[in-house]
């Protein structure tokens, strides 16, 4: 549990959409490098347990995607070398690096987002938007482990009855298909019972409400306000920062407007990391006082 886990889910979702949204629709290298470093930094702080393998995979993806562009796109004036009568240009390479930085940073934002959005938070948000969809989602989420459990039970029962064996591929396939078929029938019958008991308890009599522990606290409003302000400032600032990749790299001079935009976006992406670090330091300080 960190600082961001305790923020109201709606505020957290707005934050992630703002941070990833600007990165998605901007091709400015400053914005993209800020977004990439912020997203990776936060993900590292948030989940230290994730193995190095998935990060290596991201790095590989980054390199491959960066190299695709110069081989299919031949715009640009600075020719690096010629391959198959096609010029490989520096501009196309830089564009490829920028595009893959954008994609990888958005991937990391969404990974952190998925880590934070537990199913209760998801249902809280959906319960607000559409109670009926939230009901279907919560039932589906509950059925997944239930099916897994029942799958195991059915397999054991079939084995005990001598109807299931895994001697060769054909047997395994037949056995699995049979069990799947049993599960479907069982699931449908069981679902009807669930539905009947819902109706018996008055489902559909009035608008469905949902209970959740999340409240809007003062801190949530402050977080939301800071996010909104930084988002607006960075949008306003980056609109002024022109950056062209083709035919030659060209960008507008830095003025107070673009600098404001970049600074506020930098603050925006590092906001949750700052919160987490602050929280960790405070905990350490409190512990040392005991």
């Amino acid at each position: 549990m960190g600082a961001i886990d305790r923020i109201n889910p709606v505020a957290a979702a707005v934050y992630f959409l703002a941070a990833a949204g600007i990165a998605m629709f901007s091709m400015n290298p400053v914005i993209l490098s800020l977004s990439l470093s912020g997203a990776v930094c936060f993900f590292f702080i948030k989940s230290r347990s994730t193995g190095i393998k998935s990060h290596l995979y991201s790095l590989l993806l980054f390199i491959v995607m960066a190299l695709i562009n110069p081989f299919v796109n031949h715009n640009g004036v600075t020719v690096l070398f010629i391959m198959n009568d096609n010029p490989i240009t520096l501009e196309a390479l830089i564009y490829g690096i920028a595009a893959s930085a954008m994609i990888i940073s958005v991937l990391y934002w969404f990974r952190s987002f998925t880590e934070i959005m537990t199913s209760d938070k998801l249902l809280y948000i959906f319960g607000r938007l559409s109670p009926k969809l939230a009901l279907i989602l919560s039932m589906a989420l509950r059925f997944v482990p239930m099916f897994g459990n029942q799958l195991y039970k059915t397999e054991q029962a079939q084995k005990a009855a001598g109807l299931y064996k895994e001697d060769n591929i054909a047997d395994t396939f037949k056995g699995k298909t049979d069990i799947f078929s049993i599960i479907i029938t069982w699931g449908l019958e069981n679902g009807i019972i669930t539905a009947d008991s819902m109706t018996a308890r008055g489902y559909g009599c009035a608008r469905r409400t949902s209970f959740s522990l999340f409240r809007w606290r003062k801190g949530d409003f402050i977080f939301l306000a800071i996010t909104a302000a930084l988002f607006a400032a960075s949008l306003w600032g980056t609109m002024a920062a022109d950056f062209a990749y083709y035919p030659a790299i060209a960008f507008s001079e830095a003025d107070y407007r673009t600098v404001t935009g970049f600074t506020s976006y930098g603050l925006l992406v590092f906001l949750p990391s700052i919160f987490e670090i602050k929280e960790a330091l405070r905990w350490k300080y409190l512990k040392s006082k005991i």
């Binding site: 091709m27 796109n73 969404f110 998925t114 279907i136 989602l137 679902g191």
Partner: protein, 228 residues
């Protein structure tokens, strides 16, 4: 989603969104202003269509039994996605649509995409995946009668929707990478995604071949027994 209380405004929105806002967005997208930003337009169009559908669903009175069955189908899709080289989402949403109607098919496909992406990686592509799988179900719902009668037609539809799904996701890849559409990039995306396209088409085909009849019989039985 009864956010808008006035019935007239709601009805007007129902017509304005698909027939005015989305074409307007497309027109704006082709205008010079958003020259390299077709991705915004396509994402907005996808999000609007999903919102429209969920708003329509929210207002209708759907029986509890029907909703539980849709939830079961979604759970089956999610469980099925864990089996390697076996992508049953399209097939299950087609079967659901044939026996329970297009709306149920749309819900199964789109919500299965949404929920299972919490295990497989959520991203901006989720909106496209939801729309692609949902539409596969919705269209199957419209074609329910012929698909139920002719198995060959069902198999062709399954294989075809697997290929179309893969192409739609390739368009998305190119839009995301490049901002705008680019023929060469699309071609290279299609070629590099070819193994996936084949897996999609073949697994849809195999699943529908093996499961359409027994699965359909079960749903039919539930429908007759309990009057869903």
């Amino acid at each position: 989603m009864n956010v808008i209380k006035n019935r007239n405004i709601r009805n007007a929105l129902k017509i304005i969104v698909p027939f005015v806002i989305i074409p307007l967005l497309a027109a704006l997208g082709s205008a010079a202003m958003f020259e390299k930003r077709h991705i915004i337009i396509s994402l907005a169009a996808a999000a609007f269509s999903l919102l429209l559908f969920s708003a329509g669903f929210e207002r209708k009175a759907t029986g509890g039994r029907r909703m539980v069955i849709v939830a079961i189908m979604i759970a089956l899709c999610i469980v099925g996605r864990f089996i390697p080289f076996f992508k049953p989402v399209t097939a299950i949403s087609i079967i659901t649509a044939i026996y329970l109607g297009g709306e149920a098919g749309f819900l199964t496909g789109s919500l299965a995409a949404f929920l299972s992406n919490f295990y497989f990686g959520q991203g901006p592509w989720t909106a496209f995946q939801m729309l692609a799988w949902g539409l596969t179900g919705l269209i199957a719902g419209y074609l329910a009668e012929p698909l139920k009668r002719h198995k060959l037609l069902l198999l062709i539809y399954g294989a075809f929707s697997g290929v179309i799904y893969s192409f739609v996701m390739d368009v998305w890849t190119v839009l995301w990478y490049n901002g705008g559409f680019d023929g060469t990039l699309f071609l290279s995306a299609v070629v590099s995604a070819l193994p996936f396209t084949v897996v999609y088409a073949v697994s849809n085909l195999a699943f529908l071949w093996l499961m359409a009849r027994p699965f359909g019989e079960k749903l039919e039985r539930i429908k007759i027994k309990y009057g869903v």
